[in-house]
């Protein structure tokens, strides 16, 4: 349920349920236990002085929910979200965060053995987020960790 499962899949035996989603032309997946709900895109209120991948905040039943545009976060081409986009509300530690993705594509069950390590590349983004690769029906789905999805706390000025 916690992010650590994502971060360290080697420690986990047996099967896991994953939720797969599309961002641009790529597919990613995360542990389904992290997902609180999935909802349609609503216009977000922009936050000043925030990284570009933070789209802003929306109202989730009275709580203020930050929206992370996964495309920008993962270094993919960004596009203006439309009503067809989807927000996956996930729990990361004590916080809830909305992930802006193009569409939810699949729910998969994968054994740890079927998850292949990501190739050793120099890309900082891949190192930070991609924890493994999953071949499914000729597609490649990247298992990602969300530990660094949000910007860190501001340093005390």
């Amino acid at each position: 349920m916690s992010a650590t499962i994502q971060a360290d899949p080697a420690n986990q035996a047996g099967n896991r349920e994953l939720i797969a989603f599309r961002v641009g032309r790529q597919e990613f997946c995360i542990n389904v236990m992290m997902v609180r709900e999935i909802r349609g895109w609503t216009a977000a209120t922009r936050l000043p002085r925030s990284p570009r991948y933070v789209r802003g905040v929306i109202n989730l039943r009275g709580a203020v929910l930050p929206i992370v545009d996964l495309a920008i976060r993962l270094g993919l081409p960004a596009s203006e979200p439309t009503a067809r986009n989807v927000i996956i509300v996930v729990q990361i530690g004590q916080q809830q965060v909305g992930l802006l993705v193009d569409a939810v594509s699949d729910i998969l069950t994968a054994s740890n053995a079927s998850i292949q390590p990501s190739p050793d590349v120099t890309s900082e983004l891949v190192k930070t987020f991609v924890k493994g690769l999953l071949p499914v029906d000729g597609r490649m789905i990247s298992l990602i960790s969300l530990d660094n999805a949000l910007p860190r706390e501001l340093e005390a000025a």
Partner: protein
């Protein structure tokens, strides 16, 4: 999980706080002569419950003191001790000592034993004073009976015989007989025999049944009331027979006590009297004599219970987080309901249709739910007011002044978060009123005022805010000296023309203390400015009015809740923002000729002879690269912490509304320049501006650079 005992202990201390407050209220009511019979009982119960609870946690010092206190209170309750002002004075001080003991027990710190000992000595004195049968006989007891009882008291020192048969309910209520027996042992030497003759075969035994009887011989010179006390909480759930050592004129089981004032009744000896019967074995079945007598106390006790239940309305303790969550959800419900109404209207459904009518009904309901939920958090200011009498007593003693505290409007309700935070400013204001406001007793007599000064504390609702007033009938503000001091400290120019009101309000400036000598009560000039700041942090305002020779009044105005905020809705470069109303001094339309550049990006606005830095909100929040033309904008003069001012430029003002404050940090992180967020009527999030940060931003170049730096790194 933590120690479950710790949680119970915490609850005990919370209850102690409530009981201490009740104790103090009761005693003050008695002092003012507004006490009813029930007040005395309530006071007694408060001390008694604390003693009982303290016993469970083996807080011996507390138990011992509470016991002494309780004994004296009991004498008042039974009418053997008159509640004279002197006695009540002792009680009030004892309540303070008791509060200290509770506090010490809670914090595990030591207490001033000497003070406790002095108090105990005072109690001994008043207890002794009433030992000699008081001329006025006990109110409730017949005079003859009273005499008999007193006589009997003297002779009691051989063994009491107690037969104690718990019923199943006693155990069901989680009472423990061993603790009761241990409690009994405190009274004297006991000899306990267990009668298990009613115990059935194991196969027939009901595991939750009660089958045991204890016969206890108690060697003690205590009175029956003391023994009854031990059983007080279980009396309804057991068969209890108490046989006095030498039943001179008494018949077993006929001396009864009620919970509300002790009542002694003496029945004539029955015809076939059995002299001092051996403890009746095996109850149930109850002894022959018991039923008639036993029925009577049961009724009495029940009546008393009902009475006390009526006085204390049922309450539950709820975690504040749960209430907050509910408030969030109800707020959301209101927004959703509004959105639904909008959709129905858009769908072209007639206003008179069933759907529209049902929606209207729903709207009423949601509003009502919202009000009730907000009411859950609202609490009377009583809990804060109750702490003040003690403060007044202590400060009065330290300053050698005679002070009477008058409070009004204790029932005024305000949000719990506000309650928690008004105690400090109030404390400071009251200290100030006594220490600086009131003249010394000699001086008061000299100028023909009553020797006793009056400090008045009033709470009331006024236009959606709570107003707290602290007034004294002292000398009022010495304007000449305040002025002198202000000039001396360089706060104002020597030739400045100030109105009386302006001079009075100088005392809220930092580093200002008018007392001729610095006292350890009101501190060293860190006084009213601190109060003003903490009040401002709550979105409140403080002001003073003073009449020379007649006294001063401090008026504190606060929002009813910290969960909502009065805000001005503005827009900057297409973004909706909320600016807290409490920070806004005025709004104006800047003229081009009043704007002067200070450096390449900071402009100042000439305003009534001074220059105030201008902050372009859209630019400063990075909504826009360019700067707004001042004459195209609306300017808001705002005041930040410490009275620092700035002019904020926005595109337009859209009105004023109350908004519910939502934290940004809960799911994200702090955003420089933004204090919090809120949800608007259309369901979108709007940001609430952090005016202090904006003002600081405008003032410091360094701060500006640091806060503008945004990391977009991964």
């Amino acid at each position: 999980m933590e120690d479950p005992m710790a949680a119970i202990r915490e609850t005990f201390f919370q209850e102690c706080d409530e009981q201490l407050a009740e104790l103090e209220t009761g005693l003050i009511a008695m002092e003012n002569g507004t006490a009813e019979t029930e007040t005395v009982n309530a006071v007694f119960r408060a001390v008694h419950s604390m003693k009982g609870g303290a016993g469970i946690f083996a807080l011996d010092a507390l138990v011992r003191f509470a016991h002494v206190f309780e004994t004296a209170l009991d004498k008042v309750r039974s009418g053997t001790l008159a509640a004279t002002p002197a006695v009540l004075g002792v009680f009030l001080r004892a309540a303070d000592v008791l509060a200290d003991l509770v506090h010490a027990a809670r914090e595990n710190t030591s207490v001033d034993n000497a003070r406790t000992a002095t108090m105990v000595a005072e109690f001994d004195k008043i207890n002794n004073d009433c030992e000699t049968p008081s001329p006025a006989p006990a109110k409730t007891a017949p005079a003859a009976g009273s005499g008999l009882f007193e006589a009997a008291l003297e002779e009691q020192n051989s063994a009491w015989e107690i037969s104690f048969t718990p019923r199943a309910e006693l155990y069901a209520k989680a009472n423990e007989t061993a603790i009761i027996l241990r409690e009994l042992r405190r009274l004297g030497e006991i000899d306990v025999r267990l009668d298990a003759s009613c115990l059935p075969e194991l196969s027939e035994l009901d595991p939750e049944g009660a089958y045991l009887t204890w016969h206890i011989k108690l060697t003690s010179d205590c009175d029956e009331a003391a023994i009854r006390h031990v059983f007080e909480f279980v009396e309804d759930d057991c068969v209890l027979l108490i046989t006095p050592p030498e039943p001179q004129g008494f018949v077993p089981g006929t001396v009864i006590t009620g919970d509300n004032g002790f009542k002694f009744e003496f029945f004539p000896p029955p015809e076939d009297e059995e002299p001092a019967p051996e403890p009746e074995a095996a109850v149930p079945p109850p002894p022959r004599e018991a039923p008639a007598a036993a029925k009577n106390p049961a009724v009495e006790v029940m009546a008393a219970k009902a009475e006390s239940a009526a006085a204390v309305s049922a309450t539950i303790r709820v975690d504040l987080d749960r209430v907050d969550r509910m408030i969030d959800l109800v707020g959301e419900l209101v927004i959703n309901e509004a959105m639904l109404s909008q959709r129905v209207l858009e769908a072209g459904i007639a206003r008179a249709s069933g759907v529209a009518m049902a929606l209207e009904e729903l709207e009423h309901l949601t509003r009502e739910i919202q009000d009730s939920v907000m009411a859950i958090r609202a609490q009377p200011v009583r809990s804060v007011f109750q702490r003040m009498p003690r403060l007044v007593r202590e400060v009065a003693a330290q300053t050698h002044k005679q002070v009477r505290l008058v409070t009004e409007g204790e029932g005024t309700e305000v949000d719990k978060t506000v309650i928690e935070r008004i105690a400090d400013p109030l404390t400071h204001m009251i200290r100030n009123a006594i220490d600086h406001g009131l003249e010394s007793t000699e001086r008061r007599i000299e100028i023909g005022k009553p020797a006793e000064g009056t400090v008045k504390l009033i709470a009331l609702h006024r236009s959606g805010r709570i107003v707290l007033e602290v007034s004294d009938d002292g000398a009022g503000i010495n304007r000449a000296r305040v002025r002198e001091k202000a000039v001396e400290n360089g706060v104002i120019a020597a030739d400045a023309q100030l109105s009386d009101d302006e001079i009075d309000n100088l005392i809220f400036l930092p580093g200002f203390s008018t007392a001729a000598k610095v006292s350890d009560i009101s501190g060293r000039g860190v006084g009213m400015d601190v109060v003003r700041q903490s009040v401002a942090a709550l979105g409140g305002r403080i002001s003073i009015t003073s009449r020379p020779g007649l006294g001063s009044t401090f008026t504190l105005s606060l929002p009813l809740t910290l969960a909502v905020l009065d805000g001005m809705v503005v827009s900057a470069h297409g973004h909706t923002l909320i600016i807290p109303l409490s920070a806004i001094v005025e709004t104006l339309k800047p003229r081009a000729q009043d704007v002067f550049p200070l450096d390449h990006e900071i402009n100042v606005l000439a305003l009534r002879g001074g220059y105030v830095p201008m902050v372009d909100i859209a630019n400063s929040l990075c909504y826009s690269e360019s700067f707004i033309e001042p004459e195209q904008s609306v300017a808001l003069l705002v005041e930040g912490e410490g009275g620092v001012r700035a002019v904020l430029l926005v595109d337009a003002i859209h009105g004023q509304r109350q908004v519910v404050i939502k934290s940004l940090e809960a799911n994200y992180r702090a955003v420089p320049g933004i204090g919090a967020a809120t949800v608007m009527g259309d369901g979108r999030v709007a940001l609430i501006l952090d005016v202090d940060a904006m003002v600081r931003n405008a003032r410091s170049d360094a701060g500006r650079g640091a806060e503008l730096a945004v990391t977009e790194a991964v």
